[in-house]
């Protein structure tokens, strides 16, 4: 009998894989602890709390305290996974992240739960679209955006072993499995589909949409390469340079502001090369979202597979 295969259209909340992997790691290594902000439920830590009540430190609604406490634990030999809704973890505790985690090089794993616009109708206060811009500006902090449950799992395992300051986006908006048997590789983009006309560099929720876009573009005679850029900082610059020589243009797609996230990171590589290629930056352009559910907002901001396809075909044709 062959193993059951998940239907191709099945989608997943990555918090589930995150929580399962974290509990598994905690069983193997007693240094693993979790710190949270009244977010046991929303961080999917119910099982962890049951199994390891002493190793779950819920500080209450106090994100600055949460990150500081995480740093203290890390500096005392523990491996803290600091979990909170991404907007509050990053926005509220930004200075703790900078000073206590990154600058102090305390090996804290910051887990930004439900990032991007996962909290749809709860609005811009609850959206975490600035996180990539903010955190990428901080030295000594890895910024990681897994694309699906399998990659979330391997990124969690990597982070526990790497013992370096890291930020991990843990998605809530459901995504299909896209990474297959390619585990998270720190600092390296993975080529999920090769192509010769245009490259789409995507992260997180945008990866499956980029693959869909590539499929559709192929039908129109445009060959699109899809890179899953799950490490945003430090960026895989070689993969970008290869895309510049092997394809004729680059589209970036992220559920974040383009001001300083993935698009800006890729652009900074592109414009400093001798022969830059044209680019399109898909994302949110310094705007607060109107009211609406996540899927609606992704459409509103031009982040569907169709939008990515259009941008890619536009680049291919403009240059032809």
């Amino acid at each position: 009998m062959s193993a059951p295969v998940a239907p191709a259209n099945e989608t997943f909340d990555c918090r589930v894989a995150f929580a399962e992997e974290l509990s598994a790691l905690a069983r193997e290594d007693e240094r693993i602890v979790a710190v949270c902000n009244d977010s046991v439920g929303s961080s999917n830590l119910v099982q962890f709390q049951k199994e390891f009540p002493d190793r779950l430190i819920n500080v209450g609604i106090a994100e600055q305290d949460m990150v500081g406490v995480g740093a203290g634990l890390a500096l005392s030999g523990y491996i803290p996974f600091v979990c909170g809704a991404s907007p509050f973890l990053t926005g509220r505790a930004l200075e703790q992240i900078k000073a206590d985690v990154a600058y102090s090089q305390s090996p804290v794993v910051l887990c930004g739960m439900s990032p991007g616009m996962a909290y749809g109708e709860l609005g811009p206060t609850h959206h975490s679209i600035e996180d990539l811009s903010w955190l990428r500006a901080i030295a000594g902090l890895d910024v990681i955006v897994p694309a699906d449950p399998a990659e979330t799992r391997s990124a969690v395992r990597w982070a526990a072993n790497a013992a370096r300051p890291a930020f991990l986006r843990v998605g809530r908006f459901k995504v299909p499995a896209v990474t297959g048997d390619r585990p998270f590789t720190f600092g390296a983009a993975t080529t999920l589909r090769d192509g010769s006309d245009v490259t789409v560099v995507a992260a997180g929720t945008m990866v499956s949409r980029a693959l869909e876009a590539a499929e559709e573009a192929a039908e129109q005679g445009v060959s699109v390469r899809v890179l899953n850029m799950s490490t945003i900082a430090p960026l895989d610059e070689d993969a970008i340079r290869r895309a510049m020589t092997e394809t004729r243009g680059i589209v970036t797609a992220e559920e974040a502001t383009t001001t300083g996230g993935l698009g800006a990171a890729v652009a900074a590589v592109v414009v400093t090369e001798r022969a830059p290629v044209p680019m399109r930056l898909l994302g949110i352009h310094r705007e607060f979202a109107p009211t609406g559910a996540t899927a609606f907002l992704l459409e509103h901001f031009g982040l569907t597979a169709g939008d990515i396809r259009q941008a890619a075909i536009g680049l291919a044709r403009a240059d032809a």
């Binding site: 609005g123 009211t291 609406g292």
Partner: protein, 293 residues
């Protein structure tokens, strides 16, 4: 930006007149009835939208109703009136309770409530002052309302205005350190034109406050920061009215309103899972029957 509903605003004005003339029992009944109407409206709104924070809405509605229908010097038809009292809902997740109360006051037509959390609605899951009259500042991340209110109270002082600033805080919310920085500033500056109301329902999102991170003795904490403290039953409208309007001394006032999360709906009362669970159609019918009593 939404605009006022003149009919409701007129009805609200006559309610205020009648309230001013009424004796204590009548006053109590007037507010009780209006608060429960708002509860019912809110439950339907949440049911329709499929999201909301029902427990905290039910908990805070007696406080909001008492403020808007019998205390605040505001004019729904002149939301920008410079000398209006300021009201800040720091626990912004209970936007539903604020929207129903603002609609009952006439700040915008009640029909607008049907759009709550819908695509492009001005009534976002957390309140937005840019789109909704009566909302004084945007809240949602906890621990922001008190510092902003302190700024508003300092501004009233600077411009020699008699306006008063009221801010409603969640109790779990008080775990945010920003509140204590602001409490210190208010105490230091003796901001007697500031009243902070704590919706003390003893529950936060995932557990009881005292099991998560102890807040008690809350009264002593505020006193130590230079505040006067009043403790009342947060569902006793007359006690709330008295606490909100009693003459102020020389310090800011903290009203600890002892409340029950989910108040008024028996199966929601004091149950942590109703923080943001959405009631089914049948549950809304059952709740409505209880609230009509």
């Amino acid at each position: 930006m939404l605009v006022a509903d003149p009919g409701t605003a007129a009805a609200w004005r006559s309610f205020r007149h009648e309230f001013a003339e009424a004796g204590p029992e009548r006053r109590r009944e007037m507010l009780r009835q209006r608060a429960n109407e708002s509860r019912t409206t809110d439950l339907h709104m949440i049911g329709r939208a499929g999201l909301g924070h029902v427990g905290g809405d039910m908990s805070v509605l007696d406080i909001l109703t008492t403020l808007f229908l019998s205390v605040l010097r505001v004019d729904p038809e002149k939301p920008e009136w410079a000398d209006r009292d300021r009201f800040v809902l720091s626990k912004g997740h209970t936007a539903g309770a604020l929207y129903t109360t603002l609609a009952a006051t006439g700040f915008f037509p009640a029909a607008e409530l049907d759009t709550f959390a819908g695509p492009l609605s001005p009534l976002n899951g957390h309140p937005n002052r840019v789109k909704v009259p009566g909302v004084e500042t945007n809240t949602g991340p906890l621990g922001h309302g008190l510092p902003v209110s302190v700024g508003m109270a300092v501004a009233a002082r600077l411009s020699a205005s008699s306006r008063h600033v009221y801010v409603v805080l969640g109790d779990g919310e008080l775990q945010e350190g920003s509140n204590w920085e602001a409490a210190m500033t208010a105490g230091h500056r003796r901001l007697s034109n500031l009243t902070a109301v704590v919706d003390r329902n003893r529950l936060q999102q995932g557990a009881r406050t005292e099991e998560t991170n102890t807040l008690d003795p809350l009264d002593d904490k505020f006193r130590a920061f230079g505040w006067d403290v009043l403790e009342v039953d947060g569902h006793d409208h007359l006690a709330l009215h008295e606490a909100f309007t009693a003459p102020r001394g020389e310090r800011p006032t903290c009203v600890i309103a002892n409340t029950v999360k989910g108040r008024g709906v028996s199966f929601m009362e004091d149950r942590v899972e109703w923080h943001h669970k959405v009631p089914s159609a049948e549950q809304i019918v059952a709740a409505e029957a209880e609230l009509a009593r």
